[in-house]
């Protein structure tokens, strides 16, 4: 019984302590919010001032009032202005971006970014790297470049994006020696970042298409697709026989965009050797790049019992040319389920 009594008392005391902590925490947040609101207003003023300052008139410095100078000694205010500048810089560009960069440097806030890189905690390192990229602090490129191949994927992706922000397309050279796998999500982030940059020539894709890191090959295929690198056609075709099925899939997708007069036949040649997912991708690709010469071959595959494939084949044949659709209507199975219903849907979609 004694142990029960002790346990009961401990539980209730702990619960009471937690409740008290919660109440105090909420009151603390509420109080801080009030103080922060005043400081944020000052920070907003400073940021606005920086954006509209003509630096030629001020010897490259943003004038800071004595009141603000005093506030800058306050750690909380410095943290608020730090976050405010980062947040504002994320959504602007051009002269305003440069102005905020100057303000950031003037207040020595770049040292705060660097300090984060020395942290033991991965999320603080990643934050520091991210903020160096956002602020465009090119002088710290050597400090963050080694992180592009970090084993912690959150750090490595931030470093990769920051390197692109700071060096443009040239920054993609981190792919040369990348051993970590780049996830689909990371690839989306990298492509988005590249989309924000002015397009420039870049080299290395031919090497990345032959990388031992399969995710690098996949990413290189996406780059080839996005930037229409027709000169790499043969390298893309080589990827059709890669051991990794995802690489082969991406090669098929790429050939749907980067193709020549032989591509349709090359894909058809691969069809029978491929797994289902790749076969489906080939049929979809042929809708774009195929011509009347492949229609009869595709019709042979229509006997499949897999309805998804059957429908995709029918779609491709119908959309290659008017001849394709008419040919489908003449087939014996065209009057029977499921092909008859499929053809009705295809006809309806063609009208739309």
């Amino acid at each position: 019984m004694f142990y029960f009594d002790v346990a009961i008392i401990i539980f209730y005391i702990l619960a009471l302590a937690i409740v008290l902590f919660i109440i105090l925490y909420l009151l603390f947040i509420h109080k801080n919010r009030r103080i922060n609101t005043e400081m944020e207003a000052l920070a907003d003023d400073l940021v606005s001032q920086a954006i509209f300052t003509e630096f030629e008139d001020t010897n490259g410095l943003i004038p800071i009032s004595s009141e603000l100078q005093k506030q800058l000694l306050n750690t909380r205010f410095k943290s608020i202005i730090y976050d405010k500048i980062i947040l504002t810089t994320k959504s602007i560009s051009g002269h305003s971006h440069l102005s905020l960069q100057k303000l950031f440097m003037q207040l020595n806030l770049d040292l705060q970014c660097l300090k984060l890189l020395d942290s033991y905690q991965w999320h603080r390192i990643a934050k520091g790297i991210q903020e160096i990229g956002i602020m465009g602090l090119k002088q710290y490129l050597p400090d963050i470049s080694p992180y592009t191949n970090d084993s912690n994927k959150y750090i490595s992706i931030e470093a990769q994006i920051a390197v692109l922000k700071l060096s443009g397309f040239k920054g993609l050279r981190f792919l040369d020696n990348l051993t970590q796998t780049i996830s689909e999500w990371e690839q989306i982030m990298l492509l988005k970042e590249l989309g924000n940059l002015p397009v420039e020539e870049f080299s290395g894709i031919e090497m990345w298409l032959k990388s031992n890191n399969d995710s690098v090959v996949i990413f290189a295929l996406k780059l080839t697709r996005n930037y229409h690198k027709f000169e790499l056609y043969n390298d893309i075709v080589d990827c059709l026989v890669h051991h990794n099925s995802k690489v082969r899939l991406n090669a098929i997708h790429t050939l749907a965009e980067v193709y020549n007069q032989d591509t349709a036949q090359q894909l058809l040649h691969r069809y029978k050797q491929e797994d289902y997912e790749q076969q489906l991708a080939i049929v979809i690709a042929l809708e774009t790049i195929g011509d009347d010469n492949i229609i009869d071959v595709l019709i042979q595959y229509l006997s499949t019992e897999i309805y998804e494939m059957k429908y995709t084949l029918a779609c491709t044949i119908a959309n290659i040319s008017k001849y394709g659709y008419e040919k489908l209507l003449t087939l014996p199975d065209a009057q029977h389920y499921p092909l008859n219903e499929m053809l009705l849907q295809i006809k309806s979609e063609m009208k739309q």
Partner: protein
């Protein structure tokens, strides 16, 4: 020692041992969830989900929303789904043979016409009467399917047959989604490089007393009525602690039927939702996991602690009872269908930990509690009860339950802090104090009734009448 004393001791120490095991598992879950929540929040602080919204490379998603007699709010609900900002999306509303004017309202509001559509019968379902699309290009993402009534599982299976995208998001049509819900739910599928993520779920929050306008949540309020409020507390415990801990272990067996995302390819290979069970949401996840285990393919069922979806909780004991009864039956049916996994090392963590946990502590707990109460009454009538021991045990359990609930409230406050006022927190704490006396016995009794109904082969859903959300006052 008389046989009565022996029986009493056996009974008492049996219940005590079970309670200690149960409470220990709660302690483990509570503490283990902390790491996962912290990791997620830290990771989230870098993530710009907007990248996914506009990307052509983002995962392709089909939202499946079955609707039965939802005429009152369906237009608004569909509008809120169509307003989700996501590139590669289609919204499929499945009218499950509604007896009201749900379909007619949709046709009128969205300028729908019956289109020629081949429904791939990958999963066997009841007949589809028609597939509708909009003449208006603004609603090009919308597909409405009219089918013969067959229940929620059957309706979802029709949606799966019609969906063309890689991932399906199954939702209740009257749920309110956060603006970035889809983005957050989609990300786990594409960020894991070691395992195939086959399903993800998020936190469901209680929308009672919240202010909703045009299908959007404008203001979060703590439910005013006791029953929805105690369910708020229960959901915080279950989602923020329980599911996060299981997700960290990769042993999660359940993704809420109100809102979850699934790999369509795996769902089809597993045969879709089982329409013979009322717990089709849990049963599908267990079957998908079993499918992957049997093929030795590395996989994960992921869970996100962000509040993604808001739903109306039962506000009366009658409706609550039906819901809990159904949940109990669903759990039992799922455990029964997949009993081969019980302590079977072939199924790894699923068979050796997840399944046994659900069996002993989710299925059996209400029964053990009920048997304990009945046993207590019998021993009391025979004058055999050690009152001191009984009272101590009762207070022990109550005080632990209260502490656990308060801990869950703390986790909620330091993470998402949806209820910001100290008054609301104190209200929740008071609710935690009252829960064992009002809510918990009722839920236990509903679960016991569920067991009885299952033995009597009752397999209906029961009518779940909803009151509707609070509207913004002009």
């Amino acid at each position: 020692m008389s046989w009565q004393s022996f029986l009493l001791d056996f009974f008492t120490y049996g219940i005590l041992s079970y309670s200690i095991l149960l409470l220990s598992s709660y302690v483990f879950i509570g503490l283990y969830s902390i790491g996962e929540v912290r990791h997620y929040l830290k990771k989230n602080s870098f993530t710009d989900y907007r990248i996914l919204a506009g990307s052509t490379q983002a995962p392709t998603i089909s939202i499946l929303a079955p609707a039965y007699n939802e005429g009152a709010n369906i237009i608004e609900n569909v509008r809120s789904l169509l307003s989700i900002h996501y590139n590669n999306l289609e919204v499929i509303i499945i009218n499950d043979g509604s007896k009201d004017d749900s379909l007619e309202k949709l046709i009128a509001a969205y300028d729908l016409f019956k289109d020629d559509f081949f429904v791939n019968p990958q999963i066997k379902t009841k007949d589809v009467r028609g597939v509708y699309k909009s003449r208006n290009a603004v609603y090009r993402k919308l597909i409405v399917v009219d089918k013969v009534n067959g229940g929620k599982a059957d309706a979802l299976n029709v949606g799966i047959n019609i969906a063309k995208n890689n991932y399906i998001v199954c939702i209740d049509v009257d749920c309110i989604l956060e603006q970035d819900a889809l983005l957050k739910l989609a990300k786990p599928f594409i960020e894991n490089t070691e395992e195939r993520v086959i399903a993800t779920g998020g936190v469901i929050r209680i929308a009672n007393s919240c202010v909703v306008e045009n299908g959007r949540l404008l203001k979060v309020n703590l439910p005013e009525q006791f029953l929805p409020r105690v369910q708020t507390l229960e959901y915080i415990r279950a989602f923020l602690l329980g599911r996060m801990a299981w997700s960290r272990l990769n042993g999660l067996l359940l993704i809420s039927g109100a809102f979850g995302a699934f790999d369509r390819d795996i769902v089809i290979k597993c045969g879709g939702y089982d329409h013979t069970t009322v717990g089709e949401d849990m049963e599908l996840v267990v079957r998908m996991r079993r499918y992957m285990e049997e093929r030795n393919q590395p996989y994960k069922v992921s869970f996100i602690p962000d509040p993604l979806c808001w739903t109306e909780a039962p506000a009366t004991f009658k409706i609550l009872g039906r819901q809990r009864n159904r949940w109990a039956r669903g759990t039992i049916e799922t455990l029964r269908f997949h009993r081969i996994m019980f302590f079977n090392p072939k199924y790894g963590l699923l068979g050796m930990l997840s399944y046994p946990y659900w069996f002993f502590f989710e299925f059996l707990a209400p029964l053990v509690e009920f048997v304990g109460m009945v046993g207590f009454i019998i021993f009391m009538l025979f004058g055999l009860v050690d009152w001191l021991f009984f009272v101590n045990l009762l207070f022990f359990v109550f005080s632990f339950g209260f502490l656990y609930s308060v801990f869950a409230i703390l986790m909620e406050v330091i993470t998402y802090n949806q209820y910001k006022k100290p008054k609301d927190i104190l209200n929740l704490v008071l609710t935690a104090f009252l829960e064992p006396f009002i809510f918990h016995p009722f839920v236990v009794w509903s679960a016991v009734k569920g067991n009885i109904d299952l033995l009597q082969k009752k397999n209906d859903w029961g009518e779940m009448t909803r009151q509707g959300f609070s509207k913004k006052t002009p």
